[in-house]
Symmetry: C5
Subunit: 261 residues, 5 copies
């Protein structure tokens, strides 16, 4: 049972942190509304960081926090630890704002800090949120079920970038809606344990979608993805993952502490 | 509203810079005429640059500007910041001239400066401009609509390299014109908010086309690309992006300042 | 005959080590039960390790062992040497626990040690164990044969990550069971010399399965894989290996000693 | 008009250099005959070269020239600058001799010099020249046209490695000859402005052909490649380029001077 | 004619070296028998080696030879120079023994020497020799022809890793034998000038076969591979080369001398 306790404590810390970080910009609105630009910036820390002495690192951490504060009225940032579960990177940031330029200016400032200079930016995904495309045409009972409130305080995050094939995009709208209904049906039993968010990326990146998930139950998440592999839409995924990012939601302070060991 | 203001100021700066930089060679003509050679040179800055002391960096910046001036009667150069929005590079240059050798000589000089030695050239796309292939056969009203003046003072840039499959190239000319008309139709509603330019690359690079876009509205651009994914031409894109370069148009001085932090 | 002796001594050492390492958490249960999370963490050692002086390295080894002990009541770790048989890495760890967070916390601690800082994490595979999917529908005699006790004390390990195509996942369950029966039939003659374990990875990694093998007879293993290439399921392997990890099961101490030369 | 002048001067320098370099071995014969082995060795210069002091670099240049002279009775070497037009490398050498061992011994000596130790060998293509396969079966007027003398003093070089698919190789000889006649027809109008040479690579490299071009008119070259994309042979190009090398023909001295800045 | 002489002298040196190196283990048997494990270990030398002083390097060479001797009663090692003809690596070793563990232990010892620490292991191929699969069903005259004694004292080596597609493995045995007969027929005229050896790799590596060739006539080898591209088996090569390793057979001493320049 002990590890459940650890997960709960971790989850509460995350919620607490999110409330502080979102104090200035209206975080809730940014995370709900369409027309919001998101940048997922993925980083690996270079040796130079852990080779610095303690004092210099403490100064570096303070500098990072100042950059977060400087941009806090334009954007909101979520922080995630990948190290240990992904060889590709150590952590990533999810940045939301009303203008892509804000995301760039924040990241450029971050990468100009002492800590930022020790980072290698291994991946960046750009997307925009939109009103739901297919749901309006779904049957009413499905629409209702899809409103199941998502779980809160999830410790795990999974990000899966997706690219569709030409057949998908050239399919008549009705046929695509039918496939998306089959997709939605497959997800229903997981709505209570897996929280989802969708970003559109065509033209903003070498992707069509960024699919973002939070959960406390990775076994359920594995079952959800397996269920999605078994619906016909799967024939049209030219890219699904590659990279899949599996990590844990952690406050900035904890991530900086872990990477400073 | 504040970020709109930022975008406008930025856009004005860009226009001002372009006028100065294009003082010697006839920039307007180079950007309009067929038979012009373009090189997109993409760079990442190495650690050695930010580790130099301030004075040495100031000297390095002066050296870079001298190289720009030395070649100003042969070519025109536009400058773009990628850092923050692309993990692949920090910035890129778009060089136009009447002879590819000029592009090489300019870039060789640039890479021989102190700043240039700190750069890693992560990508280079070469192309040539041509008279429009398909438009002459389009219906008159489409021709007229395609003359909609493009937007000015756009802060965002997107570059999408494209390679077509063998079926595309072996299609009868008429069939290809029909597909390109469908393509042109899909772009009409975006002509006012997205500016476009096309370069031909077959044999000059591992590409067939470099498609270049400027916009102030990335949401429109995302919709434009989604619309293009839904026309039959999309079946023939062997490569579309990979890499897609998303960045902002910024004067050389600002880019050098950002990379010197 | 001498090399047989070497293999036997090596195998006994491995068994002895496993018993010590599994003293705290119930190792046998973790390796048998469904719902257990596994992380395969693959590493290459950087030059800085072998350049340290002997004393510093001895301190580093002690630090590593402390990390193993600190997490011993949450998880069990198996250790494998790849160097010499794979260019991709020097060694890997197989971590099992009841919660993926334990795996991450252990690996984050390991990577924070002096030894860990010299490591490059070249690959990580995440998976979960599950109750057998297809076996319940197999004929009784096949079920009985599949219960053949696996060989013990095997010196060699092979890990083959697998990804199935969309046709596989969209096949009716009966058709898939028939293909899996054909697969199981092909493995029967190798049950006595090759030990197997299966992990499910969809959504937790860019994989569908991690297949894990131990054997003393690599010629038998080569024949087993060749037999599996000859059953119809092979048409649906989008990825099979890439990377295949071939190595030997060795105690942590021996691996650390070899990498410290 | 000024850049035309530059091109002409450059071209004359190249011709002059070629005559000196080919003084010992019969360069003309090597470049015409079948059964000659060619190695294209592509290099990027590391930072250590430009960080050396002037004197040490001058010594390094002298060492390189001695290696060229030492092997001059066995082989001929052409030199090309890629920097600025290709991110992949800085320059390449094209080596011709009657025995592949000569090519290796020359390159091994070159890579053992101070300059050579600063090089990273980013690509190597090996091939052999052969008598023309298809031409003997072409109609007489086509044969005559194909004898059009190629242009001399070209400043630009393009190298395009090619790999054919299994359908190409398994096609009856007559069908292949018909496709090659269509290919040859498409090239006729470019014979006066584009010089070509073909090398066979199957088994000597991961290629089937190395196609080599020289021209003063890159617009013509772009049109030539576009024409070749439009003949049926294009269906059988498994690889075309990747990498395409675009550069300029320059004497060794000039290349060494440019890379020493 | 001079280069023929060079080749002959080189070839004789190789034979002489092979006889010394194989003094302890029965080299002839290992190279003929089935059930022998082979590891092809491919290396690139790092800068640190050539930066060491002469004395330190001499010590390093002595250390390497000691490792070769220590393992000489378990295995036999052949040595090949790639530098100059392949950008991928500088040299490779072909190790044969009766147990894969011997190969690993030898390579682990080698990589623990001063020289070994300067190496980057760029590729490793593992395989096992087997009795011939298809030959027993071939017509008698073909069987006789296939017994043509292979050429001796060849200076060149080519290694081509191969992976077959699922259709190949699922083909009825008779159909595969027919395709292999067609393959064997195509090789007959080259038996006198090209020596071949086959290794099976399924499950031991991300390959199905390692095909190994020695020859003095690379033009014949190019013709042989071209002939093999023209038999129906070629439709089933999912991978053929990538990397193809082209090099020369050279004694260890010569390779160490070349890499020490």
């Amino acid at each position: 049972m002990r590890h459940r306790l650890v997960l709960t404590v971790l989850a509460l810390t995350v919620v607490a942190f999110a409330q502080v970080a979102g104090a200035e910009v209206d975080r809730e609105k940014l995370l709900k509304e369409p027309g919001v630009y998101a940048t997922f910036a993925v980083f690996k820390v270079g040796d130079q960081w852990s080779q610095m002495d303690k004092e210099a690192r403490a100064g570096g951490v303070a500098e990072v926090k100042k950059v977060f504060q400087k941009h806090a009225d334009n954007l909101t940032v979520d922080t995630y630890l990948l190290r240990g579960l992904s060889e590709k990177a150590d952590f990533f940031l999810r940045v939301h704002s009303k203008e892509m330029l804000h995301n760039q200016n924040f990241l450029v400032d971050l990468m100009g800090t002492t800590f930022g200079k020790a980072l290698r930016n291994t991946d960046t995904f750009n997307g925009i949120t939109k009103a739901l495309n297919y749901v309006p045409k779904f049957p009413d009972d499905l629409k209702t079920e899809l409103k199941t409130p998502p779980p809160q305080g999830n410790p795990y995050v999974v990000v899966v970038p997706v690219r569709k094939d030409a057949d998908w995009w050239l399919m008549p709208q009705d046929a695509r809606t039918a496939l998306m209904k089959e997709h939605a049906d497959a997800t229903l039993v997981y709505l209570k344990t897996v929280k989802r968010k969708l970003y559109h990326s065509s033209g903003l990146d070498d992707l069509d979608f960024i699919t973002y998930f939070e959960t406390a139950k990775l076994d359920d998440f594995n079952n959800l993805v397996t269920a999605l592999l078994q619906v016909k839409e799967n024939h049209h995924n030219k890219q699904f993952g590659e990279p899949t990012l599996l990590g844990t939601i952690r406050p900035l302070d904890e991530i900086l502490e872990i990477l400073s060991r």
